[in-house]
Amino acid sequence: MRPRRWSLKGKFAGRLSAHRGGTLGEVDLYGTTRASVSPVSMGVRRFRGHRLATFGVVFIAILVMVAIVGPLLPIPDPNLVDASAVRNRPSFEHWLGTDSVGRDVASRLVHGARVSLTVGICAAISATLIGAILGLMAGVAGGWVDSVIMRLVDIVLSFPSLVVILLLVAILGPSLFTIIIVIALFEWPMACRIVRQVSLSVKETEYVSISRAIGSSDFQTMYRHMVGPVISPLTVVVTLLSAGAILLEAALSFLGLGVEHPQASWGGMLQDAQSLTILQEMPWLWLPPGIAIALTVLALNFIGDALRDAFDPRQSP
């Protein structure tokens, strides 16, 4: 939920709040009007006002811990095939039952978290790095460099990324590394556009003009003045991109082109559910991984939205 807003009820409310300074929109109880609060702590307050984002942070933190300590937990081997316990219902021995070759669903779920998080984080960070570097170059250098990079963005955005990623993974062979690289290569434009936008607006500021006037080069301008302002929007981008990358990896594994067998992955665990018998009679096989993907992506999206709100209240709803 959002922080309570101070507003007049009724039809004049909108008009009145529009009068109160364009950028703030409304005056809230959390200190936006108090001059003594620093931008960072204002951001932190606004972030904490989103309770769903707080849930998201807690959920992702727990998930990361589970993924890290997963192999140390006293759970069955996720790849242990047990022909005597095929498609068992959830029981005390197997909390979430067993799959079609008798592997423990709960421990595959725990190990699947490692794959999803690795792909999500690594692909998002690589994509953001590619995008940030190209975006900075486009914004600072301008001219033909800018045009070339922006056309590159248009080109990459024209391709349906899932289909291209399917094609490349099929040609190069599925592995965690391939998936991460291919996702990064086709998901960087969002970071690029945002970084370019920010650096264009920073370029217009007086301190940049002055630093250019005393002779700093393109690279110095980039390094000294652009990296800082770009960081906060980039945290939003990384969060949202990792949500997207987790969804892509899940779809790839679901379609049978994800990580190699027998490595557990959430999307791959749902593959069996394409058979109607399993879908109807063994919900323990497909409900838990599906819910796990949905919750993880939801948590990341909540965090991303709250971060955007915290850093730039004008942009968010």
């Binding site: 909108g14 008009r15 248009d154 899932l162 399917l166 099929a170 679901f254 109607l276 879908l279």
Partner: protein, 320 residues
């Protein structure tokens, strides 16, 4: 307008060639002889080594990589997207067989998602920070976050397996020959709704956002002050302006739409292009996949061009 149009069209030319270049890179990455993919199987089977050599020269495959790129572009622009490795048909024919089913699915889901998204977005913007606003934000957030295959499987589980009111897959029932239109509609409903759920989130968000921006503008306030009803101002002055950015969103969504069809057509056994992609991936029929990739990239580019031009017609400020 003419200047804007010319500039916008000129911008898409390098994009088109970039798309072709990237697709050519994919062709080069393929294992095996690229000529196999460009010749029909009959031609290849009947060919003598001399003929193959001459044909290779004709297709430009014996030159440098740039000469090959130019030759390949000439083939593609002439309508030869190559031949399937497994079937004795050209890629164009194979895609042609499937495009109808996909257009039907995509059309139906946009027809469901667009009005729903616009209405929800407008209402959410009008009643900002109300329970409805939060509810619609929550719904669109869920719709964005739930993987489409999980949503599809859950929909089959609920509506086909538990309630038994909708078929779980396919395009028509084999047993009944009459009533095919109604029957197809019946089969279309579930996949179209699932695909619509994938699309509706962004529609709601963008409509709400641009509606909020428009609502406080002076001309709306003036209209209200002069006594135009709330509904009148919202529809005539608000919605008309708020919908301009939505044309761009529609175009941006096309790649997501295609990705959605791959997953949803697979789950629902819908015989369209998306399912074709997966079949081609499993049988390693690369020319078909590259054909689909190339065609959809060009399509997306055209959609973007069209959306930008349409937006410029609707909103003269864009023409600068």
């Amino acid at each position: 307008m003419l200047r804007y149009t010319t500039r916008r069209v000129l911008i898409s030319v390098p994009v088109l060639f970039g798309i072709l270049l990237l697709s050519f890179v994919f062709v080069q990455m393929l294992p095996g002889d690229p000529m196999r993919a460009l010749m029909s199987p009959e031609e290849a089977a009947a060919a003598s080594p001399e003929y193959l050599k001459r044909r290779r020269a004709e297709l430009g495959l014996d030159g440098t990589i740039w000469a090959q790129y130019v030759a390949w572009i000439r083939e593609v622009l002439g309508g030869n997207l190559g031949y399937s490795f497994h079937r004795r048909d050209s890629v164009i024919e194979i895609i042609g067989e499937r495009i109808g089913a996909t257009s039907m699915l995509v059309g139906a889901s946009v027809a469901i998602a667009l009005p729903l998204g616009v209405v929800m977005g407008v209402l959410a913007a009008l009643k900002k920070n109300s329970a409805f606003d939060y509810a619609s934000a929550g719904v669109s957030m869920f719709a964005i976050s739930i993987p489409s295959f999980f949503l599809g499987l859950s929909a089959i589980y609920i509506f086909s397996l538990r309630l038994g009111i909708l078929p779980s897959g396919g395009m028509r029932t084999f047993a009944n020959d009459n009533n095919t239109v109604v029957d197809t509609m019946h089969h279309l409903l579930l996949p179209a709704c699932v695909l619509a759920a994938v699309l509706v989130g962004p529609y709601v968000r963008f409509t709400r956002q641009s509606m909020l921006e428009v609502l406080h503008q002076d001309h709306l306030v003036t209209a209200r002050a002069k006594g135009v009803s709330t509904a009148g101002t919202v529809v005539r002055h608000g919605l008309r302006n708020a919908l301009v950015p939505l044309t761009t969103v529609l175009a941006i969504q096309v790649p997501a739409l295609l990705a959605g069809t791959v997953v949803i057509e697979t789950i629902f056994a819908w015989p369209g292009v998306g399912r074709l992609v997966l079949e081609a991936i499993t049988s390693r029929d690369y020319p078909v996949i590259i054909g689909v990739v190339l065609m959809s990239a060009v399509l997306v580019m055209l959609f973007n061009l069209f959306a930008d031009l349409l937006a410029a017609v609707l909103d003269p400020r864009i023409r600068i």
